[in-house]
């Protein structure tokens, strides 16, 4: 066995096999994240010389109402996404209760998740088109006289955008819950049935507690995913009208690549990182399992 140990701890081979991954991760993920904090200390247009201005950008950001407005929208999206998980769980519970055709339903639900956010955004721009879109055509057929201009109305644009986001991810979460529910041993459910438990009791008292760990993982995914959400909003509205649908990532993108304010944009990007990390830690703490459930 000595020779095996010797071969399997060859330092050169270990270096050779891990170096490509390690180099890429360090150069293209770790270093840029650190640089983002550093660039945030600069007054810089991305082309000319950098001017060190200390924490000015970060102080400005903390008083920037546009930034806080976009942060509020991101958190609102996170809240919506987290709450919608309950609906997905309900659908998955129905699907997993020996429904014929469950597999087909689950596939249909998943299709939007496979499409690019750009295609989804363009499709929903058409769905929401005030005069010829699918939604308003249906509403007018139903006798609604003045259906709203969904994406142009600052009061509803944010909620109008939440709908395609939910549309995009519903199938993903239903799929995850369904897989977890299918892992519950049948014997447990049968035993409960023999004891006279109703389907609702079985769902609430047995199934949901048993997949709680998966549910907690999805809460983290939904909240963190929402905080960094970008593509669909950027394409659908560009954060408009007048910032009404701006989120943190789209605000940062606009500062950097439309206004060429790389210093301030970096500061916002770094704050986005810090906020995401803090929220991740908090959500993990809050949902931490005290005891592992065995079955």
């Amino acid at each position: 066995m000595n020779i095996v140990n010797k071969v399997m701890s060859n330092k050169w081979i270990i270096t050779l096999y891990t170096l490509p991954a390690l180099l890429l991760i360090i150069v293209l993920i770790v270093v840029p994240l650190i640089l983002s904090g550093y660039f945030g200390l600069m007054n810089w247009d991305g082309i000319g010389a950098m001017e060190f201005i200390g924490l000015d950008n970060y102080i400005v950001a903390l008083q920037d109402t546009k930034f806080w407005q976009s942060a509020m929208h991101s958190f609102l999206l996170a809240l919506f996404s987290a709450l919608s998980l309950i609906a997905y769980l309900a659908v998955a519970l129905i699907l997993a209760s020996k429904i014929k055709g469950a597999n087909l339903f689950r596939k249909i639900y998943l299709i939007p998740m496979l499409l690019s956010s750009v295609a989804i955004a363009q499709l929903w721009i058409k769905v929401y088109n005030p005069s010829n879109g699918m939604l308003n055509s249906i509403l007018m057929t139903l006798g609604v006289n003045n259906p709203p201009a969904w994406l142009a109305d600052p009061n509803i644009v944010l909620y109008a955008i939440f709908v395609p986001i939910i549309w995009q991810y519903a199938g993903f979460y239903i799929l995850i819950y369904y897989a977890a529910l299918k892992n519950i041993p049948d014997s447990l459910i049968e035993a409960a049935k023999i004891d006279g438990a109703t389907p609702l009791q079985i769902a609430l008292k047995i199934k949901i507690p048993l997949i709680m760990n998966v549910f907690k993982v999805t809460i983290v995914l939904a909240i963190v995913g929402s905080l960094k959400y970008f593509d669909l909003i950027y394409v659908m509205t560009g954060g408009g009208p007048n910032g009404a649908s701006e989120v943190m990532a789209s605000y940062m993108y606009k500062l950097a690549f439309s206004s060429y304010d790389f210093g301030y944009g970096s500061a916002i990007g770094f704050l986005l990182l810090i906020i995401t990390l803090i929220v991740t830690v908090i959500v993990r703490k809050v949902t931490a399992t005290k005891e592992e459930i065995e079955y």
Partner: protein, 273 residues
């Protein structure tokens, strides 16, 4: 459960299915209609006679370049990601060294971070080495940003490979490269196919990196390219619909053939996170 109860459940599931599928069906239908049909007719109506000209118009407009770029960038990035991730996972899980945990932790940093936080420095770095408006910047970022999820999916399988396989190979005089390329990679084929699917979907649909690093039409991929197309067609709904259908069709066709594998991959990418 009672019959009525079951029917109600089916109605619920059916309504969700209609909500999920109808916008896509509507897209397919208006991609084959004229503007008059779309604007005057019901959104539920089938096209009177399918207007395939809409698709010809889009191909004449040059969508093929974007399509080809999406294909080669997706394939190259996916192959390299999986090779690099497999090598790293092999060294981390199968070989004996003190820092393996630390290296794994470093790779996993990439799982939770918002890419926007790295975007400006990345842009600046690529600008300094002349890789802005060069597809290499896209391939490199795709590989790097998909490494964490790929390693995570591979990890579970690699830890279950029996020690005996390695021992037998090495005692037989096999080199470690031979062990990795001839034995470990082939037996990991099923889990690799899961990572292939996840990587392909991510790369095909990626938007921010291309939108930020690429400015020439000849290097743009479909996600960014269709933005131009749609801007240029403005009010020609049929052409816009055809553009969107062309961009989503490969994924939908892949799903028809590999739906179980795709669902497995998506589940694996999420639950372990």
């Amino acid at each position: 459960m009672s019959r009525i109860g079951y029917s109600l459940l089916y109605i619920c599931l059916g309504l969700v299915a209609v909500f999920q599928i109808f916008p896509i069906l509507w897209l397919f239908m208006f991609s084959l209609k004229t503007n008059q049909e779309i604007f005057a007719g019901s959104p539920f109506a089938l096209p009177l006679e399918p207007k395939w000209e809409n698709y010809l118009k889009v191909f004449d407009g040059g969508i093929a370049t974007y399509f080809w770029n999406s294909i080669w960038i997706t394939v190259v990035a996916t192959v390299l990601t999986i090779l690099i991730a497999s090598m790293a996972t092999f060294a981390i899980t199968r070989m004996k060294w003190k820092l393996s945990g630390l290296v794994l932790g470093l790779i996993m940093v990439g799982l939770m971070i918002p890419i926007h936080s790295a975007l400006i420095p990345l842009y600046n770095m690529f600008l300094n080495v002349n890789l802005i408006d060069n597809p290499l910047s896209i391939v490199l970022t795709y590989i790097t940003y998909n490494l964490p999820i790929t390693v995570m999916i591979l990890l579970g399988f690699y830890t279950t490979i029996p020690r005996e396989i390695e021992e037998a190979a090495i005692i037989d005089g096999s080199s470690i490269h031979r062990l990795f390329f001839r034995i470990i990679l082939p037996i990991s084929a099923p889990i690799m196919s899961t990572t292939v699917i996840i990587n392909m979907i991510y790369n095909w649909n990626e938007f921010v990196f291309v939108n930020t690093f690429i400015s020439s039409e000849k290097y743009k991929t479909l996600t960014v390219g269709i933005q131009n197309f749609i801007g240029q067609y403005m009010t020609d709904w049929g052409a816009i619909g055809a553009t969107l259908v062309i961009s989503v069709l490969p994924i939908i066709i892949a799903f028809l053939f590999f739906s179980n594998k795709i669902m497995e991959g998506i589940t694996a990418s999420a639950v372990k996170g």
